[in-house]
């Protein structure tokens, strides 16, 4: 199979399922039903084996091999309780932060999900690069990270909060346990 650099200039003659004329004349290439087919296969008998495999794993996760309803209910509710403890600040892995503009306002993160989707399409690589640099250069345990996002001066309060949430989400995946985030500033761009 050719690698990505060799796929430019591919000839339609190599493709038996869509003729050149249909491809070139189509206003909407993706409307071709052939492209909507899933081009993957699975090992023989795979789907038939899924049920047994998952049952085995579920049995392994309970101490005595039993998977009674009470045990699962406790586990589910304890999981929820643990999440709340983490948010409230218990344990070494917690990130505790305040977010504020340079004017001194303190905001509580209230992420709106649709903004998360938009942020996903924007420049999270930029966030990652900035944070990687800041965390690598610092020898302190507690950092104040100053992030100047692109178009910071045009940000609304709501967008800024969502941006800060994206930063928090990135940090929560960071493997270091010695760094805790003291504060996160969303500063206006300096002249």
């Amino acid at each position: 199979m050719p690698d990505e650099s060799e796929t430019k200039g591919l000839k339609m003659e190599d493709n038996k399922n869509i003729d050149r004329e249909s491809f070139e004349n189509a206003n909407d290439i993706l409307s071709n039903e052939h492209l909507k087919k899933m081009p993957f296969k699975v090992p023989q008998g795979y789907f038939e084996s899924v049920e047994d495999e998952v049952r085995t794993k579920i049995k392994e996760q309970t101490p005595d091999g039993q998977w009674g309803l009470l045990h699962r209910s406790l586990k589910a509710y304890l999981g929820l309780a643990a999440s709340f403890l983490l948010i409230l600040g218990a344990g070494w892995g917690t990130i505790h932060f305040t977010k504020y503009f340079t004017s001194g306002h303190t905001l509580t993160a209230q992420s709106t999900v649709d903004s998360e989707l938009l942020l996903d399409s924007l420049e999270n690589d930029y966030v990652a690069e900035q944070l990687d640099n800041a965390l690598e250069e610092s020898s302190k345990d507690t950092l104040t990270i100053r992030v100047i996002p692109p178009q910071a001066e045009e940000m609304t309060v709501e967008t800024a909060v969502d941006y800060a949430d994206a930063v928090q989400e990135y940090l929560s995946a960071y493997p270091s346990t010695s760094v805790s985030l003291a504060s996160l500033e969303l500063a206006e761009l300096e002249e």
Binding site: N17, L30, K36, V54, L69
Partner: protein, 182 residues
């Protein structure tokens, strides 16, 4: 195949209903969830691992399912979150690798023994692999799984407008990418 409401009624029944109901969920949905995860990971091994984790999470969390959403979208939400978490971790762990994570996903596609498509399908899959993760999830659910925007919005815990926007951006990106390759 039983309706979701019947499965949930069985689950809430006393005397072993839970096990049987879970079996029905696995039989009814595991294949669809698998293909969704396959689209997000690009290879069988990772998709299988994520499917197993998803089904175990479903089993563990069924006691807390309150029926606020449809069972179907709840299952997809668990699977999608499982995949997005995995992707985030993989992306983070490979950030110093010579090849970017997206490129390594594309390479996995190229060398996957279970890829069964033709040249244009491979190019399409590579274009899809380069979308941001949540955008890819939305595109996969709409384009390959033919889910309604309202259902996708429930899965992504978002609103229909944002889902439509995200899908539209992905659709245009992929269309341009395909046109540039041929």
């Amino acid at each position: 195949m039983q309706e979701d409401s019947e499965i949930l009624a069985l689950y809430n029944k006393d005397g072993g209903g839970a096990d049987y109901a879970f079996n029905l969920i696995v039989r009814k949905y595991s294949e669809r969830l698998y293909w969704h995860l396959r689209e997000l990971t690009g290879n069988h091994e990772d998709a299988n691992d994520l499917l197993q984790n998803t089904l175990i999470k479903i089993w563990n969390n069924l006691p807390t399912f309150r029926g606020d959403s449809k069972l179907y979208t709840w299952l997809y939400r668990i699977a999608t979150n499982e995949a997005l978490t995995w992707l985030k971790k993989q992306r983070f762990e490979s950030r110093f690798a010579r090849l970017g994570f997206d490129k390594s996903l594309c390479n996995k596609l190229t060398t996957d023994d279970f890829f069964n498509g033709d040249q244009i399908q491979l190019v399409l899959q590579k274009e899809v692999m380069q979308l941001p993760d949540k955008q890819r999830a939305i595109f996969s659910m709409r384009y390959f799984q033919d889910m309604k925007y309202e259902e996708i919005a429930e899965v992504m815990e978002s609103n229909v407008g944002a889902v439509k926007t995200s899908y539209s951006i992905a659709y245009n990106k992929i269309t341009t990418g395909l046109k540039n390759k041929f």
